[in-house]
Amino acid sequence: MRLAPALSLLASALSLAAPRAQSDPGPDARRPLAFVGATILPVAGAPIEDGVLVVRDGRIEAIGPRAGTPVPADAVRHNLAGKVLIPGLVCTHSHVGAPAGADSSEPIQPECRVLDSLDVRDPGLRKARAGGLTTLNVMPGSGHLISGQTIYLKLRLGSTVDALCYRWPDGTPMGGLKMANGTNSMRRPPFPGTRGKSAALVRAIFARARAYVAAKERAAGDPEKLPPVDLRLEALAEALSGRRVVHFHTHRHDDILTAMRIADEFGLRIVLHHVSEAWKVADEIAARGVPCSLILVDSPGGKLETMDIDFHNGVELERRGARVAFHTDDGITDSRVFLRMGALAVRAGMSRDGALRALTLSGAEILDLADRIGSLEPGKDADFAVLSGDPFSVYTRVEQTWVEGRKVFDLADPQDRLFAEGGYGASDGQAWHLCCAGQGGGQ
């Protein structure tokens, strides 16, 4: 009696295991797309009732109210009356896809790249699409002072990391540098045992990197005079030059100040991540103009550094004019309910506009991608999510996610729905990264 359901489960498991076919785009692929009738929240600009979004070649060609925004005659029309259309969500800090960076041998390993480890077929990426996410900063963990190079991913349908990564104009994969202070990166030697030692080790390596850069400049291209290639210092040189943004894990108020102090000393472009005690030093953060990537979790504690985490972090920073983004830290929180984090910030007093910006454009700015994504404007990538209603209502569902004018998630598709809601097979092979949860639970 049990055979039939078992077989059908097996069949569905097999079909899940196969990567989604990269379907032939077909003859309509070159036609423009028109999304008509939704309430559009472009983030850059006021809400548009009964709006029209025209997409051509993966980019936004036009956006505006129906009256005044002509739909090209040859466009493929999508009727979105009653729906809400928002920019694709940008997660500035994720761990989906089994990213690896540094190993456990030493505390400073900036030469390690997430690029070389990522599995973009991991169900975590499908779940992220189901949450309306279209861009991720995938990072190594926080168990090191410098744990490696992060990667910025565009959640296209694709089966290689190369197909998904953003690139700098020179063609190299784009990403930041992950750093951390506080207890996660404190361990037995050669790891630091105190906060003072943590800062000293970081200053020492950046001082070396600065000297390395100077030596290269002095060599002026002469191979005889160039210092031997040092990948570790090369990565830090990219942070010193400002090309590579430093994503700095930090919780406690004093650690937040230390992170900013080190950034000042070496001229680093940093983003503060988690920033659990941001409310205690909100003035200092705002005065220095350092952007924050916040996480809100459902209860305080769980580790000493998050004792005073507070939903008010968003509004306290917003009031002072600081740049605020949110992140999932997936699997700490689930990408499928990323909108909820903005809503919880609203619950604590943040403005709705500010919270939606923090889930989209502010994240794009933090990743140096605001010229391409984060808001719905002509010329930007056609990355967006179609919602059943108010972005900050629990009853709202993400119905579709689009990347560069291609649908990458559809709640009406049973397979996509499985990833959106969970159930048998939804997490097959999913890798979980709970940053430092394994180090004794709350160091």
Binding site: S299, G302, V346, R347, V394, Y424
Partner: protein, 408 residues
């Protein structure tokens, strides 16, 4: 003491909410949860008398508030929430060795460990869930050992919690599956060994009960607290709370229940959708995993729709906050039920799953879970739809005492 000081002290006591209850709670919408699908009362009033019990419930037009009573008002009023399974009070908020009392892994079978002896009513996580509407919590020893200990049902008060214990020994916390494996190569090392050990211990307890009931005192065995606790389960006084996610472990639990005539409650149960017929036929209720729990390990097949699936299958269930080993150290059952509400269950059934249905499952519905005359005056107040992300819990009442007016 001058009369001024007396007055000051009395006023402070009143402000702190320790005054004897003569409390009226008025809500634009009062969800009484007295009957399936019953409409909420519009502009309703709940009166709580001096003994902390409800004396009247009804529309404001029909229930006059006696003169001099304290009145609280809110957009929405529900019964105080009932979290069907948590470890708050034992698993402390700091997550440091000294505040983690939810699991002792020195032995696989420790049914004698009482929740009462480890419960810290002033832990910040207890405060946290209280301020978010939870007035009754089923808490105790955590999943992670074959039999980790006992659970209890208690009000979320900070002070004198022993006067607010509804069941000092509510259930026996068991785990089947990988979570039951003992550390350091000790037994049980796998599923078969775990079930064999549990069966052996239950057989031993059955034998013990028989001998203990012997007429001749000389033939009575020495007291054995572990076997006493298992005996309580064998006598049907308490159910086994079996935390399991895999279908085969759910089956193993049902098999055990059948063999020993035990009452069981399935807990977590991520793969219950594969075993709906067996669970329904066995008449076993389910405390469903938190919808936002991480779908990892044995719970990889967790679904946000579990409540809807169980409801449609006719299986009694409640929602829980569950056990978390890291951040967040506890989930909030109100927020979990909200996700379930939005994933097929609907708001009314989701609210039932954290009020009256949870109370029934825990067999404390004679006191809590709905707003009815004679029941405890436990209420939660909100400034909007309790499930909406942007609504706040603005007041909490336990037995007529206002225990929170924080805006959460």
């Amino acid at each position: 003491m001058s009369w001024r000081l007396v007055l000051l002290v009395a006023t402070c006591a009143w402000l702190a909410g320790v005054a004897p209850a003569q409390l009226a709670v008025r809500g634009a919408l009062v969800h009484t949860m007295v009957a399936d699908g019953a409409e909420a009362i519009r502009d309703g009033v709940v009166l709580v008398g001096e003994d902390g019990r409800i004396t009247a419930v009804g529309p404001a037009a029909a229930v006059p508030v006696p003169a001099g009573w304290r009145v609280l008002e809110a957009a929405v009023v529900t019964p105080g929430l009932v979290d069907a399974h948590s470890v708050v009070g034992l698993g402390g908020w700091l997550n440091q060795e000294q505040d983690q009392d939810q699991l002792d892994r020195s032995a696989p079978l420790q049914p004698d460990l009482r929740a009462l002896d480890a419960y810290s009513s002033r832990d910040r996580l207890v405060t946290w869930i209280r301020e978010l509407g939870v007035t009754t919590v089923h808490t105790g020893h955590a999943p992670g050992a074959l039999v980790s200990g006992q659970t209890m049902i208690v009000k979320t008060v900070a002070d004198d919690f022993e006067s607010h214990v509804l069941r000092p020994f509510a259930m026996l916390a068991c785990t089947l599956g990988d979570g039951a494996r003992a550390p350091d190569n000790a037994s049980p090392g796998n599923r078969s060994r775990a079930v064999a050990m549990l069966r052996q211990e239950l057989a031993k307890a059955r034998d013990y009960l028989r001998k203990r009931d012997a007429d001749d005192p000389a033939k009575q065995p020495d007291p054995d607290l572990r076997l006493d606790a298992l005996g309580a389960a064998l006598r049907g006084e308490v159910p086994l709370l079996v935390t399991a996610h895999r279908a085969r472990d759910l089956r193993a639990a049902l098999r055990l229940a059948d063999e020993f005539g035990l009452r069981i409650v399935l807990d977590g149960a991520a793969e219950a959708p594969l075993e709906l017929d067996a669970i329904r036929t066995a008449g076993v209720p389910v405390i469903a995993h938190a919808p936002m729990m991480r779908a990892m390990g044995e719970a990889e097949n967790a679904t946000m729709r579990l409540g809807a699936i169980l409801r449609d299958a006719g299986i009694p269930f409640a929602y829980q906050s569950g056990y978390e080993s890291y951040v967040p150290k506890t989930r909030v059952v109100l927020w979990e039920a909200a996700i379930a509400a939005a994933h097929g269950l609907g708001a009314d059934a989701a609210l039932r799953a954290i009020t009256i249905d949870a109370a029934r499952l825990l067999q404390v519905d004679d006191r809590v879970g709905s707003l009815e005359v004679g029941k405890d005056g436990d209420l939660a107040l909100y400034d909007g739809d309790p499930f909406e992300y942007t609504s706040h819990c603005i007041g909490v009442v336990i037995e007529g005492t206002v225990v929170s007016q924080a805006v959460r």
